[in-house]
Subunit: 688 residues, 2 copies
């Protein structure tokens, strides 16, 4: 075959540079604008994510208002108004934030945040312009200026630049005519379809409120109906710090670039100042392992030097046969929701009897800190013959699409839920039953399958952590179900004996005209069990949670026990009115000794928990040490108690080390411990 | 809460522009580099896609060599060499093609192509550099120059610019020391893991060869093992033309931009020259519907004018109560594989008894032409108790990941395959059985769920077309299975009677010492059926496909039939040696009249097909008109024949209209016909 000369040149002459905005306009489905119902959800999501991120950074308790109106039902045109009480955006930045793709502050920062790429809200402006030809109106007030900026923003997609119009300054008043101190309002018109159901704006906001219990969210739907999710805690999420990259997460190309761009004069200083987890000693040891002088100038390092340094990072080059130990990256870049708040969020939106939650200790994947949290609701008012509802979240943002393709779902599916009392065909897949499973990944680098941020891509470390969290929580569910079952049986027997035996005795006595006999001995013989009854109740007058534990001895012999309970010590609870005393057995575990419990008698332990809010603590786990089983309590596993004590010490050490990151010669910490199977406060089970 | 003044300013000061290359480096999993095994597959895929696209455009039969070697097993470093005989790339373009993201020729072109965004191969260069620090070596020879360019390409990710080194001109020789006329060789080193199995380089190349039967592909794996998929046709895929956007696929923002950028002086000219499907009459009518003068200058149109024009496009504004009819977009922008080639490709790689294929007529979604093709293999050598293998393709590129999340899989899952002889729990999901299902979407705008191009995002038009194609093919499978079953039974009976009856008769006659009786009457009475036997066989000497159809009348009465067959008329076959004559009944359908078929006699129809290659045509469908059923043939559905004739006319009309696109007053064509349920040549069933 003879090729026509010049075809290569002709083909090349057609090539040209494409702007990122042209790319995303053509591929708008990458950004979540692939169907009319989804487009409006995406727009709400981008606006709300930005509001929550900005409020969190500015340490403001967010108050968010969303309103959707139908402008033209026939043509599916909707108007979205999103308003917050955040810090606002200075006038000069508005056009870049709203009119320029890939413009943002969080791209290079290693810390947990909702938005990262600087694409989201500009995508909304672009989609609105494309589908309705309209620009987006932005009203922004910052605290340091007396008036607000009002401006319309469009997008020149060929150049990825904003097109600004009608800019002026106005006075922004609240509904009560007071001046708005700071905040942002975005008004935009787009093609979209408002729908109800599992994938809807309503559901998105409901799920957002679960994992952002510090936010106040109001939503007015196109029919004018008003929905309100109140704030359930005044506690803002922990402030997150940006951290430096960890040597374990660095690729060669990246390290080359860092060296090339470095202005440091010494390699040891470069290592200390540009990476997390590198103490002065570690920096020296890394240089030694890589056979490089500490005083070498990073900028002048040759390719082989950089490669040697990377090999030292990865433990492929050692110092006298030992891998250079690095500190784990600090976890102050993460802000988990924490168990009690998840519980609150869940109970706020879903009525249910049993809630278990589990926050794993932070872990590290390729140098990126991450943390998994799970929650499970089980009980009345939920369909029993359907798949359990799966609520997925990443950095406090609900994930609503592509459930099947998401790593978090795969972790749920990999567990045999039948052993935890849920139905599941073949022990694989999403289980069935009256339950909902919540799973939250907090990470400095959430890897989505696409820019539409709907599903997490595969990562074996995150998968394993999620599995472990689920398994632990599942054990809690099983224990809860077993306990309930056992208690119900015993209570039935107890009521039978306590009600019917005396009635028969009384009847017999009256017929025979004899005195009613004392039956306590008989009852004891028939029951032949030690029973524990626990109540945990909120007292709205004292604002305290009252806990009462009663131990009945229905056996014929005297008994001796240690009784232990879990309590929210780490979450800041305080134990008051504990007249029986006892002692701390481990973090969050308190114990009492009951020396002698005579047959037919009972012992009562009572205390209150202060410094908590309603709903923070609704059930107490009771454990016992002793030879005779106690119905309604769990026999203490001493190994677990040991484990809790050990982990407590380890965490303390990490905290010390991390806060001491700057000091030379800080005790080194094997990252293996952080990567390991290290549950934090709930080793006793899930229904904490 | 009082906000710290200046927080908004502080937050804004951290914001900056991110380069597209930084974006994709951080999100390399968006490009398919999310795990080591997948990264090497992605790299091969990008190289092969580019080679096939370039060869197709330059009209060269591709010859592609892929070699993967292990450079460092411990560190998972692989070297990939990819070489083709394509047109090559001119020296000045190499750095942009390999070192600059979003640079390419196909982004704005509306036509079927593998690559589109100008991201793929640059992504490979970027990933290689990131993981091994190495630049990628490119060797390129174009026909018009005597020597080849040799150059190393890296990437400055901060600027999205190539970094070029070691550029020089060399003489490029083939293995036999002749000069290489034109072609490209890419050599790159990256982190990756070579694996075998369902998701592997081997499987990717095997699938690529199925849907690119015109390509010759050679692969040398890291163990030095050599795999070869030969070319099975010399026919290059149809040359595709770029088309202009169709008014039905335009968004308002896009139309605004087109008007703004227009240099046309008259709206009518603008409409005729910038859109497909707009005849001069339609252009005038659109202006009338939008209440705009034909002589208005597009550049000076007001927003409301543009909106009115779009409403006319969408049929919301009419002319005297009628929607302005537009021509369907030309389908010369598509290049389907076509049934016979799919069959060849499938039989080349999978041994099997039965292959059905189905190419639907082109359809249109939001102004974008697309076409669905499906294939099904059923038979021996395949596991019967497993899920059928699903082979997904888009624009001749295999899709290997995210099967569950892909539109094409969803279409397969939506069909009740039980009615077509496959097992399927609950009539939903991927069926089980000894089969493989192939599905190919050819489209000018393939919408993937992400830039990694692994799954198609939802689109109701494509979904419906795929479903229809599957249903039609499924019917073919059912017919085939029924026919086989019926034929097997009849043959058994036939053999029983023909072998055993005469044997008994002979035995009886010899015992009784009587002459052997004539049993033909008895056999006829016992069989009481008309049987058709069809053979279609390749004759390697004449290079023709011989078809023979025999009709046996085993009933006691004379019969009269019309016998019809399908034959590859559209694919260019020629019917020769057809001594019985007969006549064309429709495109691809030939018929003969058999006036009288006496009891106990047979009629034979014989002909040959020339101008085909081996394997092009392996089975002939036989239909009949007549009152008595014929075992082994299908009763003709006259309505279907009518439908074929009608469609044939319609297609002819479209072809005329499209080729006459330029002329004023061309007969208008209702796009409904193109969107409708219009199978092309296989309405008689699937096993064609």
């Amino acid at each position: 075959m003879r090729l026509v000369a010049g075809i290569a040149e002709k083909m090349a002459s057609n090539q040209k540079q494409i702007a990122i905005s042209e790319f995303f306009e053509k591929n708008k489905h990458f950004l979540g604008f692939d169907s009319l119902p989804r487009s409006i959800i995406t727009a709400v999501k981008e606006a709300v994510d930005n509001s929550l991120d900005a409020c969190e950074e500015a340490r403001i308790l967010p108050d968010i208002h969303i309103k959707i109106s139908k402008i033209d039902s026939k043509k599916d045109i909707l108007e979205l108004v999103s308003e917050d009480n955040g810090p606002g955006i200075p006038q000069t930045s508005i056009e870049k934030v709203f009119g320029q793709l890939l413009f943002g502050s969080r791209f290079h920062a290693i810390r947990q945040s909702r938005g990262q790429q600087g694409i989201g809200i500009t995508g909304v402006v672009m989609y609105s312009q494309l589908t309705t030809g309209k620009s987006t109106h932005v009203l922004s007030k910052i605290a340091s200026e007396p008036t607000a900026t009002s401006v319309k923003i469009g997008l020149d997609t060929r150049k990825n630049k904003a097109v600004k119009s009608e800019q002026n300054r106005i006075i922004w008043e609240n509904e009560d005519l007071t001046l708005k101190e700071h905040g942002l309002r975005v008004t935009t018109r787009m093609k979209g379809k408002y729908q109800r159901g599992r994938q809807s704006v309503f559901q998105y906001l409901r799920m957002t409120s679960i994992v952002n219990p510090h936010a106040e969210i109001t939503f007015i739907d196109p029919d004018g109906e008003r929905f309100h999710w109140p704030r359930v805690t005044e506690r803002l999420p922990t402030k997150v710090d940006s951290i430096k990259p960890h040597p374990h997460g660095i690729e060669l190309g990246q390290l080359q670039r860092m060296c090339r761009d470095s202005k440091d004069s010494r390699l040891s200083v470069f290592l200390r100042q540009n990476f997390s987890g590198v103490s002065m000693r570690a920096a020296k040891e890394l240089c030694e392992a890589a056979e490089l002088d500490v005083s070498v100038k990073p900028k002048s390092m040759k390719p082989d030097d950089v490669r040697a340094l990377l090999e030292a990072f990865q433990g492929e080059r050692m110092v006298s046969g030992k891998i250079v130990k690095l500190l784990a990256p600090p976890t102050t870049c993460l802000s988990p929701i924490e168990e009690m708040l998840i519980k609150k969020g869940l109970s706020k939106t879903i009525d249910s009897k049993f809630i278990a939650t589990m926050t794993r200790a932070p872990s590290v994947s390729h140098g990126n800190p991450f943390q998994v949290e799970v929650g499970l609701i089980f009980g009345e008012g939920m369909a029993g013959d359907k798949h359990v509802e799966v609520l997925r979240f990443a950095n406090r943002v609900p994930l609503m699409y592509q459930q099947g393709g998401c790593l978090l779902t795969k972790a749920i599916e990999s567990i045999d839920w039948r052993q935890y009392g849920l139905e599941q065909a073949g022990g694989r897949g999403v289980p069935k039953g009256p339950a909902a499973i919540l799973v939250h990944l907090a990470s400095t680098n959430v890897q989505f399958t696409s820019e539409a941020k709907e599903a997490l891509s595969d990562n074996s470390n995150v998968f394993e952590e999620t599995r472990k969290a689920m398994l632990e929580m599942g054990r809690g569910l099983r224990k809860h179900l077993e306990k309930k079952k056992k208690m119900a049986k015993t209570r039935e027997k107890f009521e039978l004996i306590n009600d019917i035996l005396p009635a028969i005795a009384e009847k017999s006595a009256s017929i025979l005209d004899r005195p009613v006999p004392d039956l306590s001995g008989s009852i004891t013989r028939i029951m032949s069990a030690v029973i524990c009854n626990e109540t945990t109740e909120w007292n709205k007058e004292t604002k305290q949670t009252n806990v009462s534990i009663t131990l009945f001895n229905y056996t014929s012999r005297a008994r001796s026990y240690s009784v232990l309970v879990n309590w929210p010590e780490k979450a800041g609870g305080e134990m008051v009115g504990n007249e029986r005393g006892g002692r701390k057995e481990a973090m969050g575990i308190w114990g009492w000794k009951i020396e002698t419990l005579e047959p037919g008698t009972q012992a009562i332990i009572e205390y209150s928990l202060s410094n908590l809010e309603k709903g923070d603590w609704t059930e107490t786990d009771v454990f016992f040490r002793g030879s005779q089983d106690v119905i309604g309590a769990t026999k203490l596993d001493e190994k677990m108690l040991e484990e809790i004590r050990r982990l407590e010490d380890a965490f303390k050490e990490v905290d010390d080390v991390v806060s001491d990151d700057g000091a030379d010669g800080a005790s080194s910490f094997d990252p293996g411990v952080v990567d390991g199977d290290s549950g934090q406060t709930t080793l006793f089970g899930g229904d904490v």
